[in-house]
């Protein structure tokens, strides 16, 4: 017998245990081949069987070596519960089972390195939005609209809006004429496909989202915009007509901007906007992180980097105040596109979000075209587990505070508020979006729900969440060509399109009963909550 140590890892220490039924298993090996984490392996086991075949018990013992599927008892190869083995097994012989006795969090920091994983916060999922109901329903005095027949104007601004008295309008013969250029504002669908970069996503996954975006615009007249994420875009797309559906992101690593800047002279159309990422919900105060495992050749080409861990700094180096940001980043970004393209910024929700928003609102240059607040439940990609689970701020109350602060100054709507981070977490993005809009957001951005529509099996209970490993079993968050093959671009794009079409009619189904044909931004009177603390904090009605 081998010597064992009491500290040795056993399968029972891991978060997921493989349940394999030997009587069903034909040893086809499919599951082993499918498991990207090499959590299971074929093994030979010595079995001892006692048989008795006659009329009277005459037991005899037989020893045999049998083939079986064995789970590795190693932290590096811990089963993530992704269920690919179960999916592929022709005989329903195998499945992962959640292990309540897991000691993973005690064992996984080997070598003094923090645990990293893909972007789902496993704590903090008690959602405010689930305690809010759309409670003000039009009945007789203010008839509800017909969601099928009435026309609805479901659009949100992206860009800096001027106060009415600042508009350069002059009246000639009873008609107002604009006498100067306004800051650019694009009216888009109130849902933006959030920034998930090429690199974080596989090219196929990114392409599927881009395809869905173009399809929604061109076939369904839904002006949905997609943010590129940090790291740039294919030059072909930069030089195509479809660029108008894209929001270009620049983050603190400035990855990919070289190619974007070089492509500017060849651009046929303007992009929909520029989004300067200051922070993100998954790991606020942390920069970006693309592990070397995911820095494939094409990622190196787009970003112009060697194969190494790509870390964006936690802040934009050289910018130490909001005023400076305004001067340097916004001006340069605005100027890059000759002031025709709105520039917005994205911050992680935090205690200081309102001060930042106020600063931007009062900026005399009026060039910030949107404030994106990313809450604690936001973010995909890679993060330290400690950041993912234990840092950040819920987005709902921060969005509300920003809105109310603007209201106090009579500046609501001047810098459109966009909220993200957990929107659609329970699968109902329309309801979430609607509620956040009633609380004062102009629109929302979605990320994780998109990759779920592409086939991601991760969840908030620690299933999979291996987006950082380069081994995404669904081919979404990996650059391994064999894994990427697993993702069907068309099917993925179709799932997103169909979801968005459903979401669009669901939004109407929510707007019609409250009697609104345009987005109910700030219509907090339409909401009620059964939680008194939430009622107080968000200034909405308490009901029971």
């Amino acid at each position: 017998m081998e010597t064992i140590k009491t500290q040795d890892v056993t399968v029972n220490d891991l978060p997921w245990k493989i349940e394999c039924k030997p009587d069903r298993c034909t040893m086809c090996g499919s599951c082993v081949a499918a498991c990207t984490f090499q959590a299971i392996m074929p093994a030979v086991e010595r079995r001892s069987i006692t048989v008795s075949t006659g009329h009277r018990p005459e037991p005899s013992q037989k020893h045999s070596a049998v083939l079986m599927i064995k789970q590795r008892n190693s932290i590096e190869n811990a089963c993530t519960g992704c269920g690919m083995c179960e999916k592929i097994c022709p005989n329903q012989a195998i499945k992962p089972v959640r292990n309540p006795d897991s000691r993973f969090s005690l064992l996984a920091r080997k070598g003094g390195s923090p645990i990293k994983r893909g972007g789902r916060t496993s704590l903090n999922s008690g959602r405010t939005l689930d305690n809010i109901i759309v409670g003000r329903i039009s009945q007789m005095t203010d008839p509800a609209l017909d969601s099928e027949r009435h026309t609805f104007d479901i659009l949100a601004p992206f860009g800096r809006v001027l106060m009415p008295h600042e508009l350069p309008l002059s009246a000639v013969n009873g008609t107002l004429n604009l006498t100067a250029k306004l800051p650019p504002v694009n009216w888009i669908y109130p849902i933006i496909f959030s920034d998930m970069s090429i690199g974080a996503l596989s090219t196929r996954a990114w392409e599927a989202v881009a395809l869905a975006t173009a399809y929604l615009n061109e076939k369904h007249n839904m002006p949905v915009r997609m943010s590129s994420g940090e790291g740039g875009m294919p030059v072909k797309l930069l030089e195509s007509e479809q660029l108008k559906y894209m929001i270009l992101q620049i983050a603190s690593g400035h990855f990919g901007w070289n190619r974007i800047v070089k492509a500017i002279p060849k651009m046929k159309v303007d992009p929909a906007g520029v989004l300067i990422k200051i922070g993100q919900g998954a790991k606020p105060g942390d920069g970006g992180l693309l592990p070397a495992a995911k820095v494939a050749d094409h990622v190196q080409a787009i970003r112009g980097v060697p194969k190494a861990d790509l870390m964006s700094p936690p802040n934009h180096q050289g910018l130490y105040s909001i005023e400076e940001s305004v001067q340097k980043m916004f001006l340069s970004m605005n100027a890059a596109f000759k002031f025709r393209v709105p520039v917005a910024i994205k911050c992680a929700a935090s205690a200081t979000s309102v001060s930042v928003y106020n600063n931007l609102l009062r900026d005399p240059y009026r060039i910030c075209g949107g404030f994106f607040l990313d809450g604690i439940q936001g973010g995909t990609g890679a993060a330290n587990e400690i950041s993912l689970d234990h840092t950040g701020h819920p987005v709902v109350s921060k969005t509300r505070e920003c809105y109310l602060s603007a209201v106090k100054q009579g500046r609501q709507g001047q810098i459109p508020l966009w909220a993200g981070g957990g929107i659609g977490l329970t699968g109902n993005a329309a309801a979430d979006a609607f509620k956040v809009i009633c609380l004062g957001a102009n629109g929302v951005f979605l990320g994780k729900i998109l990759i779920q529509l592409l086939g991601c099996v991760g969840n908030e209970h620690g299933r999979c969440n291996a987006c950082n490993t380069g081994k995404c079993p669904a081919g979404i968050c990996t650059q391994d060509p064999r894994l990427v093959e697993r993702l069907d671009i068309d099917k993925g794009a179709q799932n997103i399109v169909e979801y968005m079409l459903a979401l669009d009619s669901e939004l109407r189904k929510l707007m019609a009963p409250i009697g609104n044909s345009s987005l109910p931004v700030g219509r907090s009177d339409a909401l009620v909550t059964t939680d008194q603390a939430i009622a107080e904090k968000l200034a909405i009605q308490y009901v029971c």
């Binding site: 809006v161 008295h165 009697g515 931004v521 219509r523």
Partner: protein
């Protein structure tokens, strides 16, 4: 649904005409408020058309408070009409002890002030009086403006008219323009201020319907102007927007409709003035209204205007006979006061339309 109406005439008429316009429509109101604003007056006030006229309802103590304030601020009283109410317990009216309609002369040092400065003074004075009366719960002040009289009361319009002796035309009260409303108070407690029409610096407005963007409108308006207060009714928003667009921004009247019921973005993009309308829509998005509404308003120059919500969920009709034009929620009202008019020429404004009637009773209509 409130019932609303307005009458504009080439000749002075007695306000009972407004009551006759409203009574056939009575089914729709619950006596939680009746109000009318008269502009361009004859009768007791005819000599002082350029002097501000104060309209208020108060207690005895309130009257004293007002008198003291006006005196302290150098307003000199010129004329007064104090209706002696018909005391009759059977009347459905929750009368206040005093109704004061009084002309004042501007303070000495304001005689040569610009019209604008005078307008600001009158507003500030009304707001100050309102605060004074409100704090001590001694009464209500509705308007303080030259040649404008506001009467508001809670009760049955018929009984209110009886109380104020409005059925006997003795020539005291005459006007060329009247905007009137009978309130159907579905929503809230009965508040005296809440009866429309509302008045602000020459702008009068009443509306029937529900403004589902009330919270949004109110949150924005509160910071726009010191006069945008009260918010006793969700239709007050329409008045403040009218005042803001015309008086504050000094935009032409046609943009009022573009602010309250902006065209959808896809329609804007097809228009030659799309860029301007888009700019207006995005800057003034918080003043948009949603929900079923008809608006009737009166401008400082006496023009009367009406328009509807963008889905046309509330009715309104305009009709006239050459000497008098009236607007009402329901055609039965018009039939009561203008039975001989040519009904075929009645105008039923649609969701994009604005109708304006000027002093010559020319009816101007245009599409937004």
């Amino acid at each position: 649904m409130c019932r609303i109406g307005a009458i504009k005439s080439k000749e002075f008429f007695h306000p009972s005409a407004a009551l006759h316009l409203m009574l056939p429509q009575q089914e729709g109101h619950d006596n939680s408020g009746f109000a009318m604003v008269m502009q361009d007056m004859a009768g007791v006030f005819s000599k002082y058309k350029d002097k501000p006229l104060l309209s208020l309802a108060c207690t005895q103590k309130g009257a004293k408070l007002v008198e003291d304030y006006m005196e302290a601020n150098d307003f000199r009283q010129l004329a007064e009409w104090i209706p002696r109410g018909v005391k009759n317990v059977k009347l459905d009216i929750k009368a206040m002890p005093y109704y004061i309609f009084r002309n004042y002369d501007y303070p000495e040092y304001y005689r040569d002030a610009s019209e604008e400065a005078k307008g600001e003074l009158l507003l500030d004075t009304r707001l100050a009086l309102r605060e004074l009366l409100e704090k001590q719960e001694q009464g209500y002040v509705y308007s303080f403006w030259p040649d404008v009289l506001t009467l508001k009361e809670i009760g049955d319009p018929w009984d209110i008219a009886t109380y104020f002796k409005l059925w006997d035309n003795n020539g005291d009260l005459m006007a060329k323009n009247v905007v009137v409303q009978c309130r159907q108070n579905t929503n809230y407690d009965i508040v005296r201020y809440a009866a429309h029409p509302f008045f602000l610096q020459g702008y009068t407005l009443c509306a029937n319907g529900e403004n589902t963007f009330y919270t949004k409108n109110k949150e924005y308006q509160k910071s726009l102007h010191r006069g945008y207060i009260g918010f006793e009714s969700d239709s007050q928003n329409f008045l403040y927007t009218l005042h803001y667009v015309l008086q504050e921004l000094k935009w032409p009247i046609k943009y009022y409709k573009h602010v309250i019921t902006p065209l959808p973005f896809n329609e804007l993009s097809l228009r030659s003035d799309g860029a301007e309308l888009r700019a207006i829509r995005q800057s003034l998005g918080s003043l948009e209204i949603n929900g079923p509404n008809t608006v009737i308003g009166m401008l400082p120059n006496g023009n009367i205007i009406t328009c509807c919500d963008s889905k046309k969920l509330r009715p309104v009709v305009v009709g006239g006979d050459g000497t008098m034009v009236a607007i009402a929620s329901e055609v039965c009202g018009l039939n009561a006061i203008l039975p001989h008019r040519n009904q075929e020429q009645d105008v039923y404004p649609n969701e994009r339309e604005v109708v304006i009637i000027n002093d010559a009773l020319e009816v101007e209509r245009w599409k937004q």
